[in-house]
Structure formats: C-alpha cells, structure tokens
C-alpha cells in the first residue's frame, strides 16, 4: 500500500484522524493513480496523434478505418472491470462508515442557523465545540431546528446532512489528539460559511473533567457565566470593564442605562436590546469616534443562554 500513501501525500487531503480516514485515502490514492494512467492514455494518445498525423498537404489521403469491434469491446470492458472493482471497494468502506457501533458514546447535535448546539448525556450544553475522548466510538445524533445543514469533519472524512423533523446519525473513532474543523456543508443561508465549529479530541481523563467542569459552570449564577464568556471570547482585549479607559472599542464600564452617541449623530439608550445588537451585528450602529468593521460579529457563535449571561454581566459593571 506504499504507493497509495505516496499518492495520498500529493493529494492534499487533510490529516487522517480516524481509521476510516486512512481507508478512504487508500481508495482515493488508488483512484488517483488509475485516473492519472487513464488521463495519460487518453490525453497522451491525443497529443501524440495530433503531432504524428498533422496535416501535411491540403489533399492528404487518410486511412478508412470505420470501426473495430474487438478494440471497442476492449475499451469498454476494461473500464467496466475497473469501475466495478472501485465500486466494490467503495461499498466495503462505505459499509463500515454506515454501520453504527454498539455502546458508542452518544452526543446530541442540533444544527441551527448558524451554529452547532451540542448536548451531552449529563445535560451539559456547548456551542460550536464538541469534545470527545480519544479511541472511543462516538455517535452523534443530529437534527435541525430550521433548514438543512450538513455536519462535516474533513479530518475524519465524515459528512452527514442534518434534517429538520428527523434524526440522522454519524459515528467516528478518533485516534489522534488535537483540534479539528467542523464545517456546515449544506447551504443554509446568510452565514452558512460562518457555521464553523471545533472538534477537540482529548484523553479520557480530560474528557471527564471537561464534562464535570461544564456541568458545574452551568450551575453558576448568570453574571458569573457572563464573566467567564467575556474572558473566553477575549472581549476584554478591546473593551475595558472597570474604568472609562478607551481601548480599541468603547469602554463598557457603567455604560448600561447611559446614553451613547452614534456616528450618524443619533442618541441611543444602552439597554439590553442595544447590547444584543452590538454583539450580534456590531457594524450596524457604531459609537461616534470609533471605526467601522473592527469588531467581528458573534452571530452564530453565541446561543441565547450565553447572550443572556453576557448582557447580565455587562449590566452589573458598576
């Protein structure tokens, strides 16, 4: 299988983080080589003939070769055999992809415009981040609350559409520690391309710790959770929280309830809805004196609970 992997190295496939990924890549490597050979035959043959039989005089005579049953049979039969071989190999790998393991760790995934909401068995919820233990069968039970999405982890070579009104499932067994991208692969509207999550593969101990901490965090008061999020999302690098000092963006200290002047001259009272808008659509209204387009949107990256927590935290900056 060495030459498959050689082909694989040239094929720009993402890192292989599951056993299935390696199998898919072997098949892909085989196909790449076969494809290369057939392209060389067809395109090479074409180029060779084009130069060999270039028109020499205006009245060239050509051979009258209308057909050859043997040849035509040969070049339909050989491709057919190759195609069937590839099909059977594909079937074999695909069957492993689709056969759900028994006793897998189940995690619920909810796709919605435009975020992945994750819920673990112990009730802990996270957004756009799945943490799983290494070398464990994990089964994701997925559904959507609005339109079609598709759960795609390139490094695992898995993809499954997420459909409103029913469950679909996908499984994997990661054998590599690290962080991998989750993309939404089915077009779902405005921020389809922003519906990106992370899949973290950690050791079993770290996984258990993560779940415990997560559960404890869920029990914290709202403002405390907001404080944690504020740190996590690095909001403090642009907004000061304990003085009027201006960093990149306006200070949030004692802002709640006050009035802000916007760049179009209008005055806005800083209330819950204004804060919400400023987090989700930061460039819609800009506070006077600050440039547009600096703050990234958090649309799709925060769920309602997290928004509540953040707003509550900002309210309490007194």
């Amino acid at each position: 299988m060495m030459w498959f992997n050689l082909a694989k190295a040239q094929s720009f496939m993402p890192s292989q983080a599951t056993e299935i990924a390696k199998q898919v890549d072997n098949l892909y490597g085989f196909l790449l080589i076969i494809s290369l050979i057939s392209c060389v035959i067809v395109i090479g043959g074409m180029i060779y003939f084009v130069f060999k039989y270039k028109r020499k005089t205006a009245n060239d005579k050509t051979a009258y070769i209308s057909h050859s049953t043997a040849l035509e049979f040969l070049w339909s039969f050989i491709p057919l055999v190759i195609f069937l071989f590839v099909f059977a190999w594909g079937w074999y790998v695909y069957h492993q992809m689709r056969a759900m393991p028994q006793n897998a760790l189940e995690i619920n995934v909810l796709g919605k415009q435009w975020a992945w909401e994750i819920e673990y068995k112990n009730g802990y919820k996270a957004v756009n981040e799945i943490v799983v233990p290494i070398n464990t069968d994990v089964k994701l039970l997925m559904t959507s609350s609005d339109v079609l999405h598709s759960f795609f982890v390139p490094s695992f070579r898995i993809k499954q559409d997420v459909i409103p009104g029913r469950y679909t499932a996908v499984w994997f067994n990661a054998d590599k520690l690290g962080e991998f991208h989750i993309f939404c692969a089915e077009y779902c509207g405005t921020t389809h391309s922003g519906m990106i999550g992370r899949l973290k593969v950690v050791s079993l101990e770290d996984f258990n710790k993560y779940l415990e901490e997560g559960q404890e965090e869920g029990a914290l008061p709202l403002a405390k959770r907001g404080e944690k999020l504020f740190a996590l999302k690095a909001c403090a690098s642009c907004h000061s929280t304990d003085s009027d000092a201006v960093k990149v963006g306006p200070s949030l200290f004692k802002k709640f309830g006050a009035e802000s002047v916007m760049d179009d001259g209008s005055k806005v009272k800083v209330d819950e809805n204004h804060l919400r808008e400023s987090i989700l659509e930061p460039n819609k209204h800009i506070v006077k004196g600050f440039p547009k387009g600096v703050m990234p949107t958090f649309q799709g990256q925060l769920n309602e609970n997290e928004l509540n927590a953040l707003v509550e935290y900002i309210k309490e900056m007194k």
Binding site: G90, K159, G189
Partner: protein
C-alpha cells in the same frame, strides 16, 4: 457555388426587426437563441467574476464583507449565477442554437417539424427568463439554483416568481425536444436512414428524449414548491409532516438527466469536429451513436448519487453508486473512439479543432473525477465541497462550453457566410483554456482539503489556492472578451465564406453560405454515411 443576387439567403430574404420576431425559420430562430443565450452568458459570467473576486481573500483580510458586502449579497449572486448558467445558457445552449440551425440542414429537411412551436419555445425561454430575472427587482432569490427545501420555503426571497420562470423555461426545453424528435423521425431526406445521420443529430435525438422524459417531473416539482410557498401544502415542509428530502429526489430526478441534456449535444459537436478536422471517417459510428442513447437511458436511474449523505438508506446509496459507475462505460467508449478517430488522420489545427482537443483534455479530467465522486466513501468526503464545484465546471464549462465555442467557430462561416480571424479565435482559445485550468484545478485541491461550496468566507488555510483560482477567472474573462471581439469583427469585416471551407462531408455544407431561405433548392438524396472521407 454560383454567386447569388441580393436577398437570396435566410438573413436578407426579409428585413426588419418584426420579421425576426415573427420568423418561423429554424435558422433565424437559432440566431434569436444565439443572441439571447450570449446575453445571459454575459450576465452570468460577470456574476461568476464577482464571486471569484469576493473569494480572492478571506474577510478577515478584506475587512467585513469584501466586494459583495455581506453573505446575503454573495448568496444572491451565487444563486443567479447558477440559475442563469444552467437554465438560460447551458440547457438551451447547444440544442437551441446549433441544434435548431443545423439539425434540419444535416438531415436534409426544410425546417423542423413544427416551426411555429419552435418560435413559441423561444418565447417561452424569453418569458421564463424575464420572470426569473424580474426577481432581481424584488426580494432577490438566495436559495441556490437547486431550491432545496425547507430553506426555499422559509427564506424571504421571491422564490415563487423564480420558480415559475424556471417552469416556463422548462416548457421551452420540452417543446424544443418534441420538435427535434418528430423532425428526426419524420423529416429525413430520402436515403437518410437513422444510421446515416450525423452524430450531432444522434446526440440531439438522445438529448431530446431526456428533455421530454425528465422536464415534466421538474415542472411538477417546481409547481409543488410554489404551492408550498403560497399555501403551505406541506408536501416538502417538515412542519406539516412533509419530507424536505423528497424534494431532492424529485429535483435530481430531473436535474441529473439534465446534466446529460447539457453534455450529450456537446459530445455530438465534438464528434463532428474531430472527424472533419482529422479528415477521416469517425471511428465506431454505431458505438458513439448508441452510447448517447445508453447514457440517456441510464441517466434516469442515477439521481440518488447527489444524495449519498442526505440520509437515504445504505442500500439506496449502493445501488445508485453502482448505476453511476455504469454511466462511465458509454462515456469511456466515446472518449477512446474520438482519440482512435485521429489515428492515421490528417489533422489540422483550425480553431474549432483546438476547442475539440480542449474538450477532450478537460472532459477526460471531468470524467475521472466523476468516477471518484461516484465512489461512495470518497463522495462522503467530497460531497458539497469545491471538488464537486470543480468537477461539474470541468464537465459543463470544460465540456459543454468548449464544445459550444468549437461548434460555433466551426459553423460560423455557414451561419453568416463570413470568415472570422483565425489568429484571434485561437488566442481566445488559449486564454480560456489556460484560464479555465488555472481557475478550476486548484478547486479540486480546495475540495480535497475540505472547503465546502457556497462559502462566502473561508479559513486562512484555503487562501492561496483561492487567490490562484480568482486570477484564473480573469484569464477566462479575457478569453471570452477576445472571442466576442473576434465574432463582431468577423461579422462586420469578415471575408466571404465559401460553401464548404473545412472540407466537411455532411449535408449542411452542400448548400451556399449562408443557406437559402428554404435550405435546399433541390431535395438532397443521400446515398452513404455521413463521414465518407476516402
């Protein structure tokens, strides 16, 4: 050919805009289609350039929103690019322009069977396109050209108008197909047996069958989608117990055969070009002719390969993968037979032949990547990534559009009675061909790396290849601008074309250029095959 007096051909036999808008002459209708399709191609092409421009850099670099401001605008442009190119350019492209013009000429008929229905089908295309493009002035549609439910039910766009436009354009396609089938069956000249028909006619015939059988299903699907939006009938809406995936089954039951509506005529054109410019009888006429029918037949049973990750059963996936592999066989036969035709030929490098060779090159790549996509586990990884985008552009642009251009430059002298500048036309080919590969080859790699399609923004790892791809799109743009200049120059100042500049053997070259109003002054009698280069 003896010189003819003023008013002796189809172009100058009648004058005035009105004579064109009410014409029932298949040649004039072909030109009407040509103007229409070229206009839509220009609009769709500009949109493609905008999309590539937006993807030149991730937004983190460009600041929020690139050229297209935000994801919504991008999604709208992406939708119109797809809808225009599919429904208004590639589907009508070869059959309605070249097919309309040359099918009757190639079988020695004076017109298609139903000339007035032929004109009606042009008006259907115009009406449908107008409806669809009207949405640009209301809530622009952002569903993607596939109208997947339930997004297309929920979005605030004027989807109904767009969908009705596509419905009426479908009518146009059906009527053209109907006309071609009856023409082929009933209007062949004496001696023109089915097995003496040029391969372009065979290809159009196979295409017409698909148009007739597949389009009605699209029609009802689109009507149900419109009803879904207007009355919420619940057929595709999970809220009422409907199944959004059923829409995909219905949609691809049409739209997969539809890709063969787009590509089989292109194969027909290439068969003509290769035999003419190799000055040699086509290798394996029967195999090429019947493989078109074979592709047409199998094309109806492979729609599920668009849905390997949609949640359909494992068995369904396996069956569809198997059948898709089978489509590869007739396609492979064609490829090998074309190459074999060149063996011991006398090959010239006129512009149309360059396009045909370009077709073979690009279609070979499109074909092998198609086999990769048909392989189940690989499809799971590539599905809805740029790999798919690249694959179908290789087949649709590299295949169909290359062949349309080749066919156009081949028949240009016949259509207009003038020659174009060969060096200019070659230059347009070089730019499009190189630009095409620079644009789309990196997209295979992007797809393998995992970049999903329909993305307005991407992670930094994808930046380099996207930059290359965008630069390539400019080269394609230049190529088509040069082609346009070549055509306009040829029309204005081109030398007078002889009746048969390439030494072709098919019937359309036996009449003067441009052809007379009724095609044949004397009904031709056919005594042999279409490519008797002896």
């Amino acid at each position: 050919m003896a010189s003819h007096a003023h008013g002796d051909n189809y172009i100058n036999c009648e004058k005035g805009l009105w004579s064109w808008l009410t014409t029932v002459d298949h040649k004039r209708i072909g030109l009407l289609y040509m103007i229409t399709v070229m206009t839509f191609f220009l609009i769709g092409g500009i949109m493609a350039l905008l999309l590539r421009l937006e993807l030149f850099a991730p937004n983190a670099v460009q600041g929020v929103g690139g050229v297209l401001k935000d994801g919504n605008v991008y999604n709208q442009v992406m939708t119109y690019h797809g809808a225009i190119m599919v429904f208004m350019v590639i589907i009508p492209g070869i059959p309605a322009i070249l097919g309309n013009f040359f099918l009757p000429l190639q079988i020695g008929a004076k017109d298609v069977a139903f000339p007035r229905i032929n004109l009606l089908s042009w008006y259907c295309l115009m009406a449908g396109a107008t409806l669809a493009l009207l949405t640009l002035f209301f809530n622009k549609v952002d569903t993607g050209w596939t109208f997947y439910t339930p997004y297309s039910i929920r979005t605030g766009a004027s989807t109904v108008l767009m969908v009705l436009g596509a419905f009426i354009m479908g009518m146009s396609s059906i009527l053209t197909g109907l006309n071609f089938i009856v023409t082929v069956h009933k209007l062949r000249a004496p001696g023109m047996t089915m097995h003496r028909m040029p391969l372009f006619v065979w290809a159009l015939y196979a295409t017409a069958i698909i148009q007739m059988l597949a389009t009605p299903v699209l029609a009802i699907t689109l009507l149900l989608l419109a009803a879904e939006r207007l009355f919420g009938v619940g057929v595709f809406d999970p809220k009422l117990g409907g199944d959004p995936v059923l829409f995909q089954h219905f949609f691809w039951f049409y739209s997969h055969p539809a890709v063969y509506i787009m590509v089989i005529p292109a194969m027909g054109v290439v068969s003509e070009l290769i035999t003419t410019f190799s000055r040699k009888v086509i290798f394996g006429y029967t195999a090429i002719a019947y493989s078109s029918l074979g592709i047409a037949a199998v094309s109806f049973f492979v729609w599920g390969h668009h849905m390997f990750v949609s949640g359909q059963s494992e068995t369904a996936g396996i069956v569809f993968s198997f059948l898709t592999m089978l489509v590869g066989v007739p396609t492979a036969i064609k490829m090998f037979n074309w190459v074999a035709t060149m063996y011991k030929g006398s090959i010239s490098f006129d512009t149309p032949m360059l396009y045909a060779l370009g077709f073979l090159f690009l279609f070979a790549i499109g074909g092998v990547t198609g086999i990769m996509l048909a392989t189940l586990p690989i499809n799971v990884h590539f599905h809805d990534t740029y790999f798919v985008v690249s694959h179908f552009h290789y087949v649709m642009v590299g295949g169909t559009l290359m062949s349309l251009m080749g066919g156009f430059f081949y028949w240009f002298p016949k259509m207009f009675g003038k020659m174009y500048s060969d060096s200019m036309a070659r230059m347009s080919f070089v730019f499009t061909f190189i630009g095409f590969n620079v644009t789309f080859f990196p997209q295979f790699i992007l797809g393998a790396m995992g970049m999903p399609r329909r993305y307005f923004d991407y992670i930094p790892a994808f930046e380099q290849l996207n930059k290359i791809s965008t630069v390539g799109s400019w080269l394609i743009g230049i190529g088509f601008v040069i082609a346009l200049i070549t055509i306009i120059q040829g029309l204005r100042k081109g030398e007078k074309a002889p009746a048969n500049p390439w030494g072709s053997k098919t019937l359309e070259w036996t009449v003067q250029s441009p052809p007379p109003h009724h095609n044949f002054d004397v009904e031709p009698v056919v005594t042999g095959g279409p490519y008797e280069y002896r």
